[in-house]
Every structure is written in structure tokens, then in C-alpha cells.
């Protein structure tokens, strides 16, 4: 039994419709906030999955690009007075460029060597942000970031982004775009090249796949998307500090991908949902949270290496385009 693209298309339409209606259903401001954060994490998780699930490499530095996007956009709007609508793209460009610069040499390495390199890089970025106090105010963080400039449609109305609901639609928009990008990338010749590299990179190379080229492509795109998430974060929470973009955050996103199911598109979405909502539910036992996370990671790999979505897909006998055993 295969999911036909017709079923997928209907599913997507329904999801988008539901998403559009959300702010009318979820009226409690804090709950809407959670949904907004979930969307930001979805962008992070889905982009990291390009690396973990589709190229097959583990990056432990994804949060660094998240941070680069956030700080770039924040600083440009605050210090240079540039509008968010421009700084957003500059931030994405900065993250993408850094992604390319890091990926180009780093992707010569594989597996644990690559993972450690990304970890080291992530730490270097955090240390730099922390110590360039003149620019970034270091560990104290940057408060007073402004939300995106209001959009005025003359004669009609103005969208003011201090309103959480307005922001919701903004984030939803970008999340849909991100998901669309990933979807189109995965289900294409490029996506197949990714798969080939993941499954057997020597064989891929032997049939003419330029493995280095595609690895760098995946890494660069993923970094750019993380930068997008960062810029959105900065102009939503209105305060950023190096602590949000550290190794723990990188690991957090890795968890989302793994628990949800790497190698699928729904997986990271589910993972982001779970790991954004779970801390809320576990609020009472917040101190146990990381212990539980660690244990969950070990358990998931040992018993459910395809994550939740992957395992369900396996059990339903669906033959996905990308699935681990």
C-alpha cells in the first residue's frame, strides 16, 4: 500500500486549513505562544533532518546557525535601523554563507569526525558571541529587539506584529515555505542523490553522484533554514542570548529529529511538536527533563531507530522513499 500523492495533497490542504484556523481556536495567549515556538522548532528540525535523515550525517552544531540568523537580524535592525523585512534575508544569507564556509571543509570528514567538527564549530560560535561583548553584549544578551515592521495596506488595515496572532501567521507562512522547500528537495533528483549518499556513498560516487557537492548543498540549505528560524525567533521573543544557541539546543533539535523519525518529513514535525510541548507537560518534573531526554534518546535508538513516524510507517507496510531499517 502506497500513499498516493493525491492523498498527500489532500492531507496537506487539510493541515494548512486547520493551521489557518488555529488562532481562532486557541485563544489563550500562552498556548498560542507554544504553537509559535513549535513552528520555529519545526523549521529547525526539518532542516537538520536534511543532514541526519537524508545525507546521513550528524551535525551537533545546528544551533550555531540558528544563533547566527538571530544575532545577524537583531543587530542589523537594532544598530543599523534596517527593516526586519530586509534583515531577514540578510540573516538567512549570513547563515547560508557560513554554512557553506563550514560545510566545504568539514564535509570532507564523515561520521563521528564530522559530528565532532560541527560540535567544535558550534562551540566556537557560541564562544565568539559570548565574548564579543562590544557587539553582542555577550552573556547578558540583547534585549529590546523590535518585532517586524508593521505591514500597512493603504486604506484597509495595518498588521502589527506585537500581536501574537499576527506573528502566528507570519511564522506559519515561513514554516509552510520551509516544509515546501524540503519536500520538493527530497522528492526530486537531488533528494535521490541525498538518499544514495546516505545509503552507500561509495556506490553513489561510483554511479556518478558528486557526493561532496550534494553534501555541501544539504548542509548549506539546512544552515540557511536554521538562520531563518533564528531571525524569526529574535523578532518574536524580542530577546536573545548565547545560551539559547548552545550545544544543548543543538542536541535538543537532534532529539526532535530522532524521536520523530529521521528520514521522513513528518518525523521531525512530530518531534518538534513533542519536544516543545513535553517540557510544558513535564513542568512539574522539570528537573528530570534532561535525564528523561537522555534516556529517551538511548531507548529510541536501541528499540525504535526509525523514530515514531518511521516505525509506524514500517508497521503499516508503507514503503516510503526514505526509510531506515
Amino acid at each position: 500500500m502506497r500513499i498516493t500523492s493525491k492523498v498527500t495533497r489532500i492531507g496537506v490542504l487539510i493541515s494548512i486549513l486547520a493551521a489557518v484556523l488555529v488562532p481562532f481556536v486557541i485563544t489563550e495567549s500562552y498556548h498560542l505562544h507554544l504553537v509559535n515556538m513549535t513552528y520555529i522548532y519545526i523549521i529547525l528540525a526539518v532542516s537538520l533532518n536534511l543532514l541526519i535523515g537524508f545525507i546521513g550525517e550528524l551535525s551537533l552544531g545546528h544551533a550555531a546557525f540558528y544563533g547566527i540568523g538571530a544575532y545577524t537580524s537583531a543587530l542589523i535592525t537594532m544598530d543599523l535601523g534596517i527593516s526586519f523585512w530586509i534583515s531577514l534575508f540578510i540573516a538567512i544569507a549570513a547563515a547560508t554563507l557560513t554554512g557553506f564556509l563550514v560545510g566545504y571543509p568539514a564535509l570532507r570528514l564523515k561520521g563521528p569526525f564530522f559530528a565532532i567538527t560541527t560540535l567544535a564549530f558550534g562551540e566556537i560560535i557560541r564562544l565568539v558571541i559570548n565574548n564579543l561583548e562590544g557587539l553582542t553584549r555577550g552573556p547578558m544578551g540583547l534585549p529590546g529587539i523590535k518585532p517586524p515592521n508593521p505591514i500597512t495596506i493603504p486604506g484597509l488595515f495595518t498588521i502589527d506584529f506585537y500581536d501574537r496572532r499576527a506573528f502566528y501567521y507570519l511564522i506559519l507562512f515561513f514554516t509552510i515555505i520551509s516544509l515546501g522547500v524540503v519536500y520538493r528537495l527530497v522528492f526530486s533528483r537531488v533528494g535521490r542523490a541525498f538518499l544514495a549518499i546516505r545509503e552507500n556513498d561509495i556506490l553513489a560516487e561510483s554511479i556518478g553522484v558528486k557526493t561532496k557537492h550534494y553534501k555541501i548543498l544539504a548542509f548549506t540549505v539546512a544552515s540557511g533554514m536554521a538562520g531563518l528560524a533564528g531571525a524569526l525567533h529574535a523578532h518574536y521573543i524580542l530577546f536573545i542570548s548565547p545560551v539559547t544557541f548552545d550545544l544543548a539546543q543543538s542536541i535538543n533539535v537532534v532529539l526532535m529529529v530522532i524521536i520523530g523519525g529521521s528520514g521522513t518529513i513528518l518525523g521531525p514535525i512530530l518531534g518538534a511538536l513533542l519536544l516543545t510541548l513535553l517540557p510544558e507537560v513535564l513542568r512539574a518534573i522539570a528537573e528530570y527533563r534532561m535525564v528523561i531526554y537522555g534516556a529517551i534518546l538511548v531507548f529510541t535508538i536501541v528499540f525504535m531507530p526509525n523514530g515514531i513516524v518511521g516505525t509506524i510507517k514500517g508497521k503499516l507496510g508503507l514503503l516510503p522513499a526514505a526509510e531506515e531499517k
Binding site: R184, S188, R189, L203, E205, S206, I207, V209, L319, E323
Partner: protein, 253 residues
């Protein structure tokens, strides 16, 4: 002459795997490379396809010196190989992995894929059609939706060949294709190799199964300890005393 190796050498620590080998592959022929284990046959394949760098010597393909080129460049020029340790794309279906094999012959990149251009959609359709045709050629149509992992061993070896064929090679290098096959499968393999040659592909085999070697080869090359010790038609090789010595009385008929 399609491919020529001139004086190629490959050294590993304490061992010379390939020692000053000069060989020639002619267009449209089926050439077998034989020799005892460790004679350097697979290493030679690795050198030709760029998976290992030559320590000395040159490899000329269609008049172009391809020594030192990266593997994917060599593949792009038409040299495709299969592997002794069965390499396939495990966790996807047979059809999907053959589709991947079409990578070289298609070209949609990042932009085309993101924007789903007409070109791209047309190419996708063609790719699937070509992949289906390859499976038909290999008699694997019935198994097209199987996960590659779930294939029996002999089919996995066939799968490797299917993926290689999808890349439309000019020169196909098969590394021990008959490995682990039963007699019936071996006969099918020989038919397949002949069919492949009929399509205009030059085939070079590394093989231990003398039945296969003697029956389908136009020429045979014999390696021992990294050196070429004999070269000729099956009849000539069968009579060659050096070869017989090397195989110590193994049945060459």
C-alpha cells in the same frame, strides 16, 4: 581500443598489489580478469575507477588520460562498476534504487527541483520509464517494489548490475558477479552478460568461476601477485603452462 592501462602500480604498506600492469580493453569485447585471491584484480578495478590513486602509471580511456580523476568524473565518462561485497542501496525499493542509477543521465538541479519546472517533471517521468525498462531487461520487474534489503543474495547481485546499467555505461566492470550464485543463476548471468554486450557495452569481469570465464570471454587476462602473467583467448589460456602452475591443477576446462 577503449581503455588502456600503462605501467600502473599500486603499493600498500608491505605489499605491492598491482605491479606494472599494462593492459588493453577493446571496444565491444568481453574480457575476464582471473587470478588467485590477492592477485590484485579488484585493486585494478579500484584504480581504473579512481577509488584508489595510482602510485605510478596512467589510465587512458577513449584517448583521454583519466588517471587521478575523482570517481564520479570517471563514472561520468562512462566507466561504471559493481562491487564484490554487494553494494546496493539498502532501505529503498528496487525500482527506486535503479532510478537513482539514472542520476548521471539526468540533470535537474537545485533550482529545477525547487520550482518544479516543466523540464524537471518531464525528466522525472522519463527517469522512471527508463528505470522500468532496465528492470524488464534484467527480468526483475516482478520485484520492483521490494526493499533491496529483502532480496535474496543472488538478486542483490543482479540489483547491483541493474543500478550500474541505469547509468548507461560504455565500459561495465563487474567484480565477481557470479559470487554466491547457484548453477542456474550462473547460466542466467552468462546470458545477461551477453545481452549487455549486445547493447553495445564493453564488459570486463573479475571472476573466479571458471565455467563462466571460459564460456563467455573473448579474452582473458591472468594476474598473479599483481603482475600480468598471461593474456589471450580462453583456448590459449587453458594451455598456458604458467597459468596452470599458478592454479596448481585446478580444472580450467
Amino acid at each position: 581500443m577503449l581503455l588502456e592501462t600503462k605501467d600502473v602500480v599500486k603499493n600498500f604498506i608491505g605489499l605491492t598489489a598491482v605491479s606494472h600492469v599494462d593492459m588493453v580493453i577493446n571496444r565491444g569485447e568481453i574480457l575476464s580478469i582471473i587470478g588467485p585471491n590477492g592477485a590484485g584484480k579488484t585493486t585494478l578495478f579500484n584504480l581504473i575507477t579512481g577509488l584508489l590513486p595510482c602510485d605510478h602509471g596512467h589510465i587512458i580511456f577513449r584517448g583521454e588520460d583519466i588517471t587521478g580523476l575523482p570517481t564520479h568524473e570517471i563514472a561520468a565518462r562512462g566507466i561504471i562498476r559493481t562491487f564484490q561485497t554487494t553494494k546496493i542501496f539498502s532501505h529503498i525499493t528496487v525500482l527506486e534504487s535503479v532510478t537513482i542509477g539514472r542520476h548521471l543521465r539526468t540533470k535537474s538541479g537545485l533550482v529545477a527541483s525547487l520550482f518544479r519546472t516543466k523540464e524537471m517533471k518531464r525528466e522525472e517521468k522519463e527517469t522512471t520509464e527508463e528505470a522500468v525498462k532496465i528492470l524488464e531487461f534484467m527480468n526483475m520487474t516482478a520485484k520492483r517494489d521490494f526493499l533491496c534489503d529483502n532480496l535474496p543474495y543472488g538478486d542483490q547481485r543482479k540489483q547491483g548490475i541493474a543500478i550500474a546499467l541505469a547509468a548507461e555505461p560504455t565500459l561495465l566492470l563487474l567484480d565477481e558477479p557470479a559470487n554466491g550464485m547457484n548453477p542456474e543463476e550462473t547460466i542466467h548471468l552468462m546470458t545477461l552478460i551477453n545481452k549487455i554486450r549486445e547493447r553495445g557495452v564493453t564488459v570486463v569481469l573479475v571472476e573466479h568461476d571458471m565455467n563462466v570465464v571460459m564460456n563467455i570471454s573473448d579474452r582473458i587476462l591472468v594476474l598473479d601477485f599483481g603482475t600480468k602473467i598471461a593474456e589471450g583467448t580462453p583456448a590459449e589460456i587453458r594451455e598456458n603452462t604458467r597459468v596452470i602452475d599458478v592454479y596448481l591443477g585446478e580444472d580450467l576446462t
